[in-house]
């Protein structure tokens, strides 16, 4: 009894039980329910699709293609966003002009850039990259700007007193002081970029996870569709939990921003 109580009290246990029950109910409904497999596949069917996708390499190719795009797009956004945010945060004129432009554009879901990108770049990698960049760039810019504006003045005074001037003050004091905010912005930017990429690949593109989703639909293969959805969820979560979350908490701890 004691053991059972402790077992139930554990958060992991509750979650595992919930998801196991969900799977079981799903499987049961797929077996006894009236819907055909291509409309309502069983979890076992999805698992088979997953295994097949990885075995024949199509999922791997799709993942590699999508990851490549997002890494390039996100990298461009990170570098450009930090510089833009730094400039907007420090220069009043840019703040009043470009700053409000960025704020306005942030209201536009980035997939809305796709038609424009297609007209500019044609059906090419550049078009999809553009959409990804527009997804991440603005939130990284805004976060950097906020971080720069909130730099504790004490750091700046100490640095100036110790002889920091010009670009060194920016690169070695202002940017690192803003790093916690920048990382939070990158985390947000990443999730925007990932969503935009999937939307973009779904609407058009040669290879990638979004295209695999489309392929599943065209083949009436619902279990592949669900399998790819699971892969997309897994990658989104993994990057957030395994890359951004640890970096964010380490930086916040080191910067003295949490207990």
């Amino acid at each position: 009894m004691m053991f059972f109580r402790r077992w139930v009290a554990n958060r992991w246990t509750r979650q595992i039980v919930f998801f196991a029950a969900l799977l079981a109910a799903w499987q049961a409904f797929a077996w006894i329910g009236p819907l055909p497999d291509y409309v309502f596949p069983s979890p076992l069917g999805v698992a088979q699709s997953l295994a097949r996708g990885f075995q024949n390499g199509t999922f791997i190719l799709g993942i590699v293609a999508s990851m490549q795009r997002i890494l390039i797009g996100f990298g461009i956004s990170a570098v450009a966003g930090m510089e833009l945010g730094l400039a907007i945060g420090r220069i009043r004129l840019l703040d009043e002009t470009v700053g409000s432009l960025v704020l306005g554009l942030q209201a536009l879901p980035s997939i809305c850039w796709l038609p424009l990108a297609l007209l500019w770049f044609g059906l090419s990698e550049a078009a999809i990259l553009f959409v990804v960049v527009m997804g991440a760039l603005l939130s990284i810019t805004l976060a950097t700007e906020a971080g720069v504006k909130n730099t504790p003045p004490l750091y700046l005074r100490a640095a100036r007193n110790l002889g920091a001037r010009g670009w060194r003050l920016y690169a070695l004091v202002i940017l690192p002081a803003a790093l916690p905010a920048i990382i939070t912005g990158m985390k947000l930017g990443w999730s925007f970029a990932w969503r935009s990429l999937m939307a973009g690949e779904l609407l058009y593109v040669s290879l990638g996870l979004g295209q695999l989703l489309n392929a599943g639909r065209e083949l009436n293969d619902m279990s592949q569709v669900i399998a790819v959805m699971l892969v997309i969820i897994a990658i989104g979560l993994a990057v957030d939990r395994l890359v951004f979350a640890p970096v964010e908490s380490r930086v916040r701890e080191r910067w003295g921003l949490q207990g």
Partner: protein, 284 residues
């Protein structure tokens, strides 16, 4: 004269008009002298120190270092802030070497210098630690090493030990006295603790509050090194407070006739009371 403060005033603009933080301040500090600025909080000590550091501009008046007007901040006068103001993104040795890096000193050389000063403040074992891993006392030691590494003529210390426990503070008093007598720096040290001022200072400059001005300057002739709990220091602290209290009372008595009793009390409260109470706790 190393430092000359001439007619320095400071007004801040605030919502309800201008706030005079400093009335004209005149102060001379000799090379190698240890001068303590003592006064209740809010009396403008930090404001004056920041102006001397060149981090803020005076409303009127000027500061001269070696006879030259010191309008901009410079590494000849390095500030040590109350909460150390170390950079959390750098480890201890890189913090200490920061000023040297800004001065363009090559990496190997500046690390060597930084290590030397970390030895001086007894933190050699912590050179690769990060700031959040250090205690308050260790942070102030790092800040001291970071300042000393630039070999400035003048150290400006703004209540550097104000937030430390008494034991750590006493230890740092000893270390600071040793370092000062070894390095012959000119030191301006802000505190609101009378005994701390007496332990460290050749002279103690007492400020009165709002608007801040120099009330009286005491010369401390006790032999060094001094200990904060020694009778000589405690006695002198009590004596100094009596002088200051009488001073406040006589000057207040002159206007007393015209002023209601609670008004007077409010004024004293506003003025030196704050110091007396803090100091009284320390002494008694």
């Amino acid at each position: 004269m190393k430092l000359k403060v001439r007619g320095v005033t400071k007004k801040f603009r605030s919502k309800n008009g201008a706030l005079t933080a400093l009335e004209p301040i005149d102060l001379d500090v000799q090379a190698g002298e240890f001068v303590c600025l003592l006064g209740p909080s809010g009396c403008g000590k930090s404001t004056l120190l920041n102006i001397i550091a060149g981090l803020d501009q005076p409303t009127t008046g000027e500061v001269r270092v070696d006879g030259e007007p010191a309008r901009h901040t410079g590494t000849d006068r390095v500030m040590i802030f109350q909460n150390a103001a170390l950079f959390p993104w750098l480890n201890v040795i890189d913090n200490v070497a920061f000023g040297l890096r800004m001065a363009g000193v090559p990496k190997i050389e500046r690390q060597e210098t930084a290590r030397r000063f970390l030895r001086m403040v007894h933190l050699s074992d912590f050179e690769s630690a990060f700031i959040h891993e250090l205690s308050g006392g260790m942070r102030q030691r790092v800040a001291l090493a970071r300042a000393l590494a630039l070999n400035p003529d003048v150290l400006l210390m703004d209540e550097p030990f104000g937030a430390l426990d008494a034991q750590t503070r006493d230890l740092l008093h000893d270390e600071l006295q040793t370092i000062w007598s070894d390095t012959h720096k000119t030191v301006l040290f802000v505190t609101h603790n009378v005994r701390e001022a007496i332990v460290l200072g050749d002279r103690v400059v007492v400020f009165s509050a709002r608007p801040g001005k120099i009330k009286q300057i005491f010369t401390i002739n006790l032999p060094r090194p001094r200990q904060i709990e020694s009778y000589a220091v405690v006695d002198l602290a009590r004596e100094m407070m009596t002088v200051l209290r009488d001073d406040v009372l006589t000057s207040e008595r002159e206007i007393e006739q015209a002023v209601l009793r609670h008004d007077l009390e409010a004024q004293i409260e506003d003025g030196m009371r704050a110091t007396f109470r803090e100091v009284g706790d320390d002494v008694l």
